[in-house]
């Protein structure tokens, strides 16, 4: 007995030693010094390659490391970056760019016309299947080098948002050397004021100043550390303990709580994500414009903003966000008026209302519940189908037959084309040929007049004339009401009160390359 006990003990000791041995590789670098600015966001970065991802919060992580030919300044104007000047020919289809000289990528590769050509060629190559190529491929024909510091873009069609797009994801210039090596997805190499130090896909992204930046010494902190959590309450706690200097996005529920804390600063600015209910115009009774208008009258937008967004949103009066060029703030299509809604329903032949369904993602489920209560007052019985986001996107992008089969008569959705131009909002959401599954016209809305306006605006390069056309397009859409407009979300982020120099590109992209604490 004694012997067995001893053996047992020996085994236990051995087991524990093994177990502890396994758990030993915990020699981590000491936590960074005070000059590290820590930013916590709600999701992990999806790629270190700006051309191979489409998420805003990843774009924020990549922003300090990459630059485009054009950049956006804090006043939201577009300024030269890697290009010094540009011009278009009379057709508006041929654009010539002079490139900045003496710029080097973080890996030492020179930035020149060849690098630019390769960057766009990879998007035009369907075999690459890069995540962000889609938008460019709709209008870009080719990019060629004229000489070492001049490139020429040939467009298939006129595209007013072209220059704005050059400051975003797919047009940020990556090192052609790193791209050819196939490492750009995990090791960022750009020309920006910060370079990648370390990317631990389960923990953080660490960036340090690029001392050889072409625009002088970077103004921000010595290092920027990006972390992420999916738990919103953890974000707020991290800000309080100082584990994070900036959290983005801040859930509205925490904004009011943090606002009273002098150690924190809550920042709210006009955002670009428009929320709406896309109505299935192919399904009865929503094929009747009166029914669609009735639902708009039955919706209390101010109430929604208060209840769902704690006030951090703007009731929507247009399919465009207030920050989108061409937005018309004078539109006031539908006041909250239950009697009018009932009258319209009666006119359409539904004096006792009708029943319909909507699909909504988990995080926005409350919108569905609120609409259910509001519309019930007009006699509309709304069944809310709540879904995990992956499931939702599959259901939302079904074709008319699929939606008929699954009984999906509407979808609660949001879209953010930001400051890049109205075409990026109108075309995917309301153009007849963008009907899902091809595009995000989830309600299969088709109106020849609107299609014509969208096309006409897209080929009008004069901004004022273009905005007039978009004004008309907004009126057509509002009148035809293929949607129930809800609200435009404000962008909310919070910082420790010692942080300065951070700013927001509408749509949720927090810019921290000039931020200090």
């Amino acid at each position: 007995m004694k012997m067995i006990q001893q053996k047992l003990r020996r085994r236990l000791v051995l087991g524990c030693a093994l177990a502890i041995g396994f758990s030993m590789p915990f020699t981590l670098p000491a936590l960074a010094a005070a000059a590290t600015l820590t930013v916590m966001q709600s999701e992990a970065p999806r790629s270190m390659d700006p051309g191979d991802q489409t998420a805003t919060f990843t774009a924020a992580v990549l922003d300090p490391m990459y630059e485009g030919l054009v950049r956006r300044d804090p006043d939201l104007s577009l300024r030269p970056a890697l290009a010094t000047e540009w011009s278009a020919d009379a057709s508006g289809l041929i654009w010539t760019f002079k490139l900045r000289q003496g710029v080097k990528f973080h890996d030492g590769t020179p930035f020149d016309a060849d690098a630019v050509v390769k960057n766009f060629a990879r998007h035009l190559d369907t075999k690459r299947g890069l995540a962000a190529s889609g938008r460019l491929r709709t209008f870009l024909d080719s990019v060629t080098a004229i000489d070492a510091s001049t490139v020429q873009f040939k467009l298939k069609t006129k595209y007013p948002a072209f220059i704005a797009l050059l400051s975003t994801g797919p047009c940020l210039i990556v090192s052609p050397t790193a791209d050819a090596a196939g490492t750009i997805g995990t090791k960022a190499v750009g020309t920006g004021p910060y370079k990648l130090m370390e990317y631990k896909s389960g923990e953080y992204v660490l960036q340090a100043k690029n001392t050889e930046w072409w625009d002088g010494a970077p103004k921000g902190s010595d290092e920027i550390k990006w972390t992420w959590t999916t738990e919103t309450s953890v974000m707020s706690m991290a800000l309080q303990t100082g584990d994070a200097d900036i959290v983005n996005p801040l859930p509205p529920a925490f904004a009011n709580q943090l606002k009273n804390n002098t150690d924190m600063a809550v920042n709210a600015s006009e955002g670009s994500a428009v929320f709406w209910v896309s109505l299935n115009t192919k399904m009865k009774p929503l094929d009747d414009v009166k029914v669609r208008q009735a639902l708009n009258y039955a919706t209390d937008r101010d109430g929604l903003v208060r209840a769902f967004m704690q006030g951090y949103a703007t009731p929507a009066n247009s399919p465009l966000a207030p920050v989108t060029p061409g937005y018309d703030k004078t539109l006031a299509p539908y006041d909250y008026d239950v009697d009018k809604a009932k009258a319209l329903l009666a006119e359409a032949g539904y004096p006792d209302g009708f029943a319909m369904t909507t699909i909504v993602q988990d995080q926005e489920a409350r919108i569905g519940e609120l609409l259910q209560a509001m519309w019930a007052k007009a006699g509309v019985k709304l069944e809310v189908k709540r879904m995990e986001s992956g499931v939702w996107s599959k259901a939302a992008f079904l074709d008319p037959a699929g939606k008929e089969k699954d009984g999906i008569s509407s979808s609660i959705a949001s879209w953010s084309s930001g400051v890049s131009g109205a075409d990026l909002q109108f075309r995917p959401l309301y153009y007849s040929r963008s009907a899902s599954p091809t595009g995000a016209n989830l309600g299969f809305f088709a109106d020849p007049k609107l299609d014509e306006l969208i096309d006409k605006a897209a080929s009008t390069l004069d901004e004022k004339a273009r905005n007039t056309i978009y004004g008309e397009a907004q009126k057509v859409v509002n009148e035809q009401a293929p949607h129930v407009l809800l609200f435009t979300k404000q962008d909310l982020y919070a910082t420790r009160s010692t942080v300065s120099g951070a700013w927001m590109i509408p749509g949720g992209l927090v810019v921290v390359k000039d931020a200090r604490k």
Binding site: I4, Q5, K7, L8, R11, C16, A19, F22, S23, M24, F26, L28, L31, E43, A44, R46, S47, Q53, T54, A55, T126, K127, R128, G129, A131, S133, G134, R135, R137, T138, G185, T186, K200, S201, G202, E203, T227, W228, T229, T230, E231, S233, V234, M237, A238, T241, D243, E388, S389, G390, V391, S393, K394, F397, W415, L424, P428, P437, T438, G439
Partner: protein, 306 residues
């Protein structure tokens, strides 16, 4: 004994094939399309199709599984759709963190649960017993997630004693492992109590008492040793739920282990990572059960494994 071990080891590949097939089919049956998620909501159908063919998801399920299984046998679990890193590297980097957390939690659970259960058995129906059992019920029913948030709010935000997030020092282990240990502690305490009660009623315990052994020697030397078998069994069998708890705990504490990796990969429908993590976790659970059986054989020579 040798033939038993051999048989168990031979069964492992069969279990893994079964589980991998199940996971492979189950995640593909889930609605949600990784190509659509990668290309973004505004992508055209063409862009989504290009992405799908790049990810190899346009091939038949049979072809996809054959490739996955063929590579897995050679230790290659493919590339993560999201991070583009080899899944094996992603798991290897995080594995020590999860093992470290699991070991800490288990050591904690055993060192509290076993004595607590013994106290319950020794003072059966007395107040110490009732206190232990009440705590065990609370521990077994409390939501791991809620407990984690409360602990963070109290010890990190409020008192500032312990780090809130991450795995940067030994102190970082305290909150996550305590949170993770609560459930197994409760289970072990209950099992120890009932097993001890049974043993304490045996004749040999009466004999031991009758011959004048000190109570400590009776309880630790005679009773516990005989009561250990069900306790070891439950420890082995509970490893699976410990991994399940780690998924939640790691996510809340930003712990860089495989539990958080799994949660992230489900969000992005990162098929290769989901498959890889599940395979590794299942292997771990099967191995733990196996070790528990071996331990039982060592504890009780009367049990013969053949």
């Amino acid at each position: 004994m040798k033939s038993y071990i051999l048989r168990k080891l031979l069964a492992l590949p069969l279990i893994l094939i079964g589980v991998s097939l199940l996971v492979f089919l189950a995640i593909r049956a889930l609605p949600g399309d990784p190509a659509r998620l990668m290309a973004g909501p505004e992508a055209t159908q063409e862009a989504v199709d290009n992405m799908r063919s790049r990810l190899g998801l346009d091939r038949t399920l049979v072809a996809q599984y054959a490739e996955f299984a063929g590579n897995a046998v050679q230790g290659d679990l493919g590339l993560s759709i999201k991070s583009k890193l080899p899944v094996v590297d992603e798991i290897a980097e995080r594995m020590p963190y999860t093992i470290g957390l699991a070991v800490c939690a288990y050591l904690l659970a055993i060192s509290i649960g076993v004595p607590a259960g013994m106290i319950g058995a020794i003072y059966r129906h007395g107040w110490p017993d009732q206190a232990v059992m009440l705590l065990a019920i609370v521990g077994a029913s409390i939501a791991n997630f809620w407990l984690a948030l409360m602990a963070m709010n109290t010890f990190s935000v409020g008192l500032g004693w312990l780090p809130l997030l991450g795995a940067s020092s030994w102190k970082s282990f305290i909150l996550p492992s305590v949170t993770l240990a609560v459930l197994p502690t409760a289970v072990i305490a209950r099992m120890t109590r009932s097993s001890m009660i049974e043993v304490l009623a045996q004749d040999y315990i009466r004999t031991a008492r009758a011959k004048g052994l000190a109570p400590g020697s009776v309880y630790w030397g005679h009773a516990l040793r005989n009561a250990l078998i069900p306790i070891v069994t439950i420890i082995g069998l509970n490893f699976g739920s410990l991994i399940g708890g780690a998924v939640v705990t790691e996510s809340v504490f930003n712990w860089p282990g495989i539990g958080r990796l799994l949660v992230d990969s489900v969000r992005y429908r990162d098929y290769p990572v989901i498959q890889g993590v599940t395979l590794v976790a299942v292997t771990g659970v099967v191995m733990m059960n196996f070790l528990a059986e071996l331990a039982i054989a060592v504890l009780n020579p009367k049990i013969r494994l053949d």
